[in-house]
Symmetry: C2
Subunit: 203 residues, 2 copies
Amino acid sequence: MSRGDARDRLVQAAIDLIWTSSYGAVSVDAICERAQVRKGSFYHFFASKDDLVVTALDTHWGTRRPVLDEIFSASRPPLQRLQRYFAHISERQGEVREQYGRVLGCFHHAVGSECVQKPTAVAAKAQELSLALRRYLETALRDAQGEGALPPGDPVAAAKSLFAFVTGALTQARVHDDLELLRQLPQTAWLALGMAGPPQRST
Amino acid sequence: MSRGDARDRLVQAAIDLIWTSSYGAVSVDAICERAQVRKGSFYHFFASKDDLVVTALDTHWGTRRPVLDEIFSASRPPLQRLQRYFAHISERQGEVREQYGRVLGCFHHAVGSECVQKPTAVAAKAQELSLALRRYLETALRDAQGEGALPPGDPVAAAKSLFAFVTGALTQARVHDDLELLRQLPQTAWLALGMAGPPQRST
DNA sequence: GTTGTAGATGACTGTTTAGTCAAGTTCGAG
DNA sequence: CTCGAACTTGACTAAACAGTCATCTACAAC
């Protein structure tokens, strides 16, 4: 086992275990066992369980961010960004289901809604990532309004509504291990913006 | 302390503690301390922690059900039922915030999304109640389509979308302790059904 | 007033938890 | 070869955990 390998395995084990069950149900021992790392090494790399979980949230976000950056690229028409994002969600969750055997929804959202109440570092990180994701929507909506592709209005409020719908759909998909709602997202999500359907291609 | 009082206090303590934090973060000892009941009495009334939580879910549902029955009364026009329900959500969460000092969203939904993965009695009960709630929406939508107040379509799929939006909004409201999104619900929820706005009063 | 029963009590068990630590190993730089 | 730093190890602690139990109390039925 090469240098730094154990650390990575711990982070990945934390992501796998917490995503497939929950923050509260996963112990340090369970993470260590899955990562094949001894307890002492765990605390060599991380100050606490929460420290690892924060790192896990950041690491996971690090894998999603470039994908989102591409989808929400400013070089793309704003409504097309959203359209691609909605399509991406069900594709992505299909991959997750293949990898983990189950639809899991959004990692940091699941952690976040479990840990909201006591303001720990974990809760703060989860909220930070949640907000970062919402801002992608916000920017796309603002741009869409700017070029008249969407009727004027408060883009922050619209992004909140749309985000609520998306996260709600992801959570339902997780609870019922059902991709159906997500597959409909490219059609139905536009309704939450007051549009009858997806925008027409302007080729 | 009169007969059965301790049992009720245990159930209420479980609701309070779990709703304000999470299932995994609340211990039997914490519930006992809050209810001012000794450990032995706990296991006199309940076979296990999970047994109490199932009872707590049922008890809480028992307080919401008559309210929902009234709102979704068949003697009311179906779109008016939905309109009242959307209004009720933000009113109710306003009450919750006053009582608990924080917006908490939906009790059984929070428990359910935390416990989905391992099929326990708690997870089963939470899913049962979640489905029961969704059926109120389903019936109203079917009735609305039946009398032509809503364009024809699959009422089950429409109820799923609407339910995703409502639960998403409730979860966001919980995470950010923010009633704003819920206050907008009576306006925005109709969009998820493909309608421009709330139905007109037919007096 | 004896007895049955529902409830209350606190001390108990065994397990799991997060986190610690001293003593090891590995390995590259000087 | 030597040294130090990065890393590993397994045994350890103290607290928290769910759940048990014999014993006590209150009270209602007879």
